[in-house]
C-alpha cells in the first residue's frame, strides 16, 4: 500500500512538474511548421467527421515572406485548392498560424490542438494569445468569422464542436477588424478527472454562405501561452 502511495505521489510530482511555465511547445510557431500541434482531419474523427462535413481548409504556418494561400472550397467540398496569396494577412511576428477560406462553406471544423497530460485535479488557467480575424467581403457583418481559443478536458477532448465545454474565448472579425489583438484569460477554474487537457485554436466560419472568389476570410494566431496552476495543493507550482 505504501508503495502504491509512493508511486502515486511520485507520478503526481512528475506530472505537476510539467506544469511549470508555458505548457505548449511551439506556441509561437517559430519552428515554421505544426510541430506538436495536431490538425483536425478525418482520421481523428471517424465517424463524427462524416456528420460534420468535408475536410476543412488546412492550417497554414506562415510568415511575411511566405504568406498564407487563399484556399477555395469548390464543387461542394470535393476540391480544396489554392487560388491566390493572402497578402492582406501579415504574421504577428516571425511565423504565425492561420486559415483562409473562400468558395463554398462545406467543410468540417478547422482547428489545431495540443493534448497535455497533467495530474487529475483542479487548476486555474492562465493563458494569453494574439489573434486576428477578418472577412474581406463582409466588413460590416458582425460575427462572420472568429478565432476561438478553447480548452477541453477528459472525454470531450478533440470533439468536433464550436460549443463551449470548459473554456472558450472567441475573437470575431468585428472586434479584430483585421488587426492583431492580444487576448488573455486569468485564473479560470477547470477540473480534469483524467488529467487530459486539450488546448485548441479554431477558425469559426460562422457565415455559411459561399464567398465569391475575389474575396476571402481569415483567422490567425500567434504567441499562445497556456499555464495551469494547481488548486488545493497548498502551494502554487513554481513557474
Amino acid at each position: 500500500m505504501r508503495k502504491v502511495l509512493l508511486i502515486s505521489l511520485l507520478l503526481t510530482s512528475i506530472v505537476i512538474a510539467r506544469c511549470v511555465g508555458n505548457l505548449l511547445y511551439n506556441g509561437d510557431f517559430e519552428t515554421g511548421d505544426l510541430t506538436r500541434w495536431i490538425p483536425s482531419k478525418p482520421a481523428y474523427f471517424t465517424p463524427l467527421w462524416e456528420q460534420m462535413g468535408k475536410p476543412p481548409t488546412p492550417p497554414q504556418v506562415f510568415c511575411d515572406n511566405a504568406p498564407m494561400y487563399v484556399y477555395q472550397i469548390a464543387n461542394g467540398g470535393k476540391y480544396l485548392r489554392r487560388i491566390g496569396v493572402a497578402d492582406n494577412c501579415k504574421s504577428k511576428s516571425g511565423y504565425s498560424l492561420g486559415w483562409t477560406r473562400t468558395g463554398g462553406p462545406e467543410m468540417g471544423y478547422p482547428f489545431v490542438s495540443q493534448i497535455l497530460q497533467v495530474a487529475p485535479g483542479k487548476y486555474k488557467v492562465d493563458a494569453s494569445w494574439d489573434v486576428v480575424a477578418w472577412h474581406l467581403g463582409l466588413k460590416d457583418m458582425p460575427m462572420a468569422v472568429g478565432g476561438i481559443f478553447m480548452v477541453n478536458v477528459d472525454d470531450r477532448v478533440m470533439e468536433q464542436t464550436t460549443n463551449e465545454i470548459v473554456l472558450r474565448r472567441t475573437t470575431w472579425n468585428h472586434e479584430s477588424k483585421g488587426q492583431w489583438i492580444h487576448k488573455e484569460v486569468k485564473d479560470f477554474p477547470i477540473e480534469t478527472k483524467t488529467g487530459i487537457v486539450e488546448v485548441r485554436l479554431q477558425m469559426w466560419d460562422h457565415n455559411d454562405e459561399p464567398i465569391p472568389e475575389s474575396v476571402y476570410e481569415y483567422v490567425a494566431f500567434d504567441n499562445v501561452i497556456f499555464k495551469l496552476i494547481p488548486i488545493g495543493t497548498g502551494t502554487e507550482s513554481e513557474r
Partner: protein, 247 residues
C-alpha cells in the same frame, strides 16, 4: 440461371476493365482540379520500406498561387526535423492552369517525394504510351553544373506498385519503365516528354504511375534562398493490349 448471371457479370466486368485501357487512364493528370484529387502522395504510411525521412510536400500551384519554397532544417537544440515555408517560388511558373511540383532548400536529408496513381486493368501484356510536361532546376547551381534535380516518370506493376525502388536496373523489367528529366536538360524550361509503345506486363492488373522528385546528388545542402524544384503537368498514360484478339 446462376451460371448465366455469372457469365454476364464476368463479361460486364471484363468490358469495364478493358474499357479502362482506352484514353488517358489517369484522373486529374493535368491537375486542373487544383488539388491532388486522384493522386496519392508517397509517405511512410503509403509506401513499403519508405527510406529516409519524409520528403517535402507535393504542391499544386498556379501562377496566382505559386509554390512555396520549403526549407528542411534540424533544430540544433533538440534535433527535431522541420519543414518550413520560407518564400514563394514565384520564379516557377505553372505550365498552364495548375501544375504539380516540389520546391526545397536546406538539408539534403529526405526520402524521395512522389505522387502516384494506381490503375486497375486486365492482367496481360500492354504497350505503354505516355506523355507529360516537366521542368526541373537547381538554383544553387545556376550554371547547371551540379546537384541535379530530376523529374522522374516511372511506371510499376504488380508487387512493385507500393515499392520504394528507383533503380532503373532493378531486375524486374518489363514491369518497370522510368524516364528522368534532369535539371541539366530542362534548365528551368518546361519540356514535353513521351514514351511510345513501351512493353509492360502485369500479372495482377495493378499498374502504378508515379511522378517523382529526385534530389540526385545526396551530398549538397542548399543554402537559402536558393532552392531546387521539379514540376509536372499534362500527364497522360494509355495502355494498348497486345497478344489478344478480343481487345
Amino acid at each position: 440461371m446462376k451460371m448465366i448471371l455469372t457469365i454476364v457479370f464476368a463479361i460486364t466486368l471484363t468490358s469495364l476493365l478493358v474499357g479502362v485501357s482506352f484514353g488517358n487512364l489517369l484522373v486529374n493528370g493535368d491537375f486542373e482540379t487544383g488539388d491532388l484529387t486522384g493522386w496519392t502522395e508517397g509517405t511512410p504510411e503509403t509506401t513499403n520500406m519508405f527510406d529516409g525521412p519524409q520528403g517535402v510536400p507535393c504542391q499544386i500551384f498556379s501562377n496566382k498561387a505559386p509554390m512555396s519554397v520549403y526549407e528542411i532544417y534540424e533544430d540544433p537544440l533538440y534535433g527535431d526535423r522541420h519543414f518550413r515555408r520560407i518564400a514563394l517560388a514565384t520564379k516557377v511558373r505553372a505550365k498552364e492552369g495548375y501544375s504539380a511540383g516540389w520546391a526545397k532548400t536546406g538539408s539534403w536529408r529526405e526520402g524521395y517525394p512522389w505522387i502516384q496513381q494506381i490503375i486497375k486493368v486486365n492482367p496481360g501484356k500492354y504497350l505503354l504510351n505516355a506523355s507529360w510536361d516537366c521542368v526541373s532546376e537547381n538554383l544553387f547551381f545556376p550554371k547547371h553544373d551540379g546537384g541535379p534535380a530530376g523529374a522522374i516518370f516511372v511506371v510499376y506493376a504488380d508487387e512493385m506498385i507500393t515499392s520504394y525502388i528507383i533503380d532503373e536496373e532493378h531486375p524486374a523489367p518489363p514491369t518497370l519503365c522510368r524516364k528522368t528529366t534532369w535539371s541539366m536538360e530542362s534548365k528551368g524550361n518546361w519540356i514535353t516528354k513521351s514514351i511510345t509503345d513501351f512493353p509492360i506486363e502485369t500479372k495482377t492488373g495493378h499498374i502504378a504511375v508515379r511522378l517523382w522528385f529526385s534530389d540526385h546528388d545526396h551530398q549538397y545542402s542548399i543554402n537559402p534562398p536558393a532552392f531546387m524544384y521539379v514540376a509536372f503537368d499534362n500527364v497522360s498514360v494509355t495502355l494498348k493490349p497486345v497478344e489478344t484478339s478480343v481487345r
